[in-house]
Symmetry: D2
Subunit: 138 residues, 4 copies
């Protein structure tokens, strides 16, 4: 139960002149998926803020594999990938209803101290999501 | 000198599947134009906040007259239209380089007290922009 | 059964610096609602194209009544309002789960001949949606 | 003279709830920069289409280095990075007026045959942009 899934429907204004979802819009879908992951993990923005940190996107590496069209139902799947001292990596996939991977991405996030604005250690509560994940795989 | 103009260029991601700027995107262009008008009028968000108010959009009435395409240079023109006790109306046009009106709109804004969150009198400094406008036309 | 409803969830990237859904984004929500209405009415883009017409937005008149925030579930309600020879008006509301109206709008659409690109009579099949509506109200 | 620069201004609707440009919006900026590069290189969409190809984004690897705020003037810099048989890589940077790099990215694009829809050799005219680049650096 380490991956969190969000179901979305491709809307008309998300389609570009080529008739498919624009490459930038995929990053919005991924952000919606990460919000779902934080929420499912009990790690809302407000919770992290109380722990004295906020998370900042440092790198996104995304492979575009299949176009998505208007009205299509997609699933955005988010799971913990790996964790360092002051950063962590989430793995995400955007999947079509037929199970095809439309895009997959690795998102590197850094934890920032809300006061000093410098990078700081990932709080234990967030770190636990990754350890849970490793146990789940063993 | 009562109208403020902002020049913009239509970008690829602003074009929808029909090959022209989407109707919702016109409202973003208008908002950019209003930001320019507030700034030119010395009425930035921070200035209004110090005066104890913020402005909230209550109504937009927009006529779509001509499509806009990628790469096109547009001018967003914003001018004071009329003013009431607790609200005011800005007139806006989106114009092509050939001078055609692509869209025209009336935007009704209400001034809200930042503390009580209820509608409140338009501050004199903002009101002056409308009186200046009337003098300019006489 | 003349009104069509679409349920949506407010996503993080739809929130502006003021912490609520931006005024332009409401127009995207309305467009998604109209797509649902066309689809429910069996009047997809392709069907209209076969009938020799496309519909173009001529005017949007929208009242903003209540802010919408991230994660909120909204219903976009679309119903036929009135019809002319070459144009028709749809009535739309964006409603919160508590039943509050966040925005209401009238959308005027013109039917365009796909070949001549001039305005043309509303096809009978689309017109029927409005007559059905009037019967429903009587 | 192998890099192409596009100057843009950060607009109000491009700012998210955190008060800075959202991570997905950076990808729109990069796309605008690539459009400028194609145009400066005489390789518009229509030109490529005549050559029987279209380009499809296969991978984006972007580092987010510095936040961008409303009203900021940015430069999107695009240059050829490397080229393969059926794909090529563009290097892009988003720079602030003070010369700071706000983001840098590598964009991998694949050339697709407009008829067969399969990947195909990069046309000589597009390939020449990369050879010119290598000469420029020697």
């Amino acid at each position: 139960m380490v991956a969190v899934e969000l179901e979305i429907v491709v809307r008309s204004t998300e389609i570009d002149v080529n008739g498919h979802v624009n490459n930038a819009k995929y990053l919005e879908y991924l952000e919606w998926g990460r919000e779902e992951w934080y929420e499912s993990s009990g790690l809302h923005y407000e919770v992290l803020k109380e722990l004295g940190v906020l998370t900042v996107t440092a790198n996104i590496n995304i492979n575009y594999r299949k176009e998505c069209v208007q009205g299509e139902r997609l699933v955005v799947r988010t799971s913990p990938e790996r964790i360092g001292t002051k950063s962590f990596v989430l793995s995400q996939q955007i999947m079509s209803q037929s199970g095809d991977v439309c895009a997959d991405a690795l998102i590197t996030l850094v934890t920032i101290d809300t006061v000093t604005r410098h990078s700081t250690a990932v709080p234990q509560r967030l770190r636990a999501m990754f350890e849970q994940s490793e146990h789940g795989q063993s």
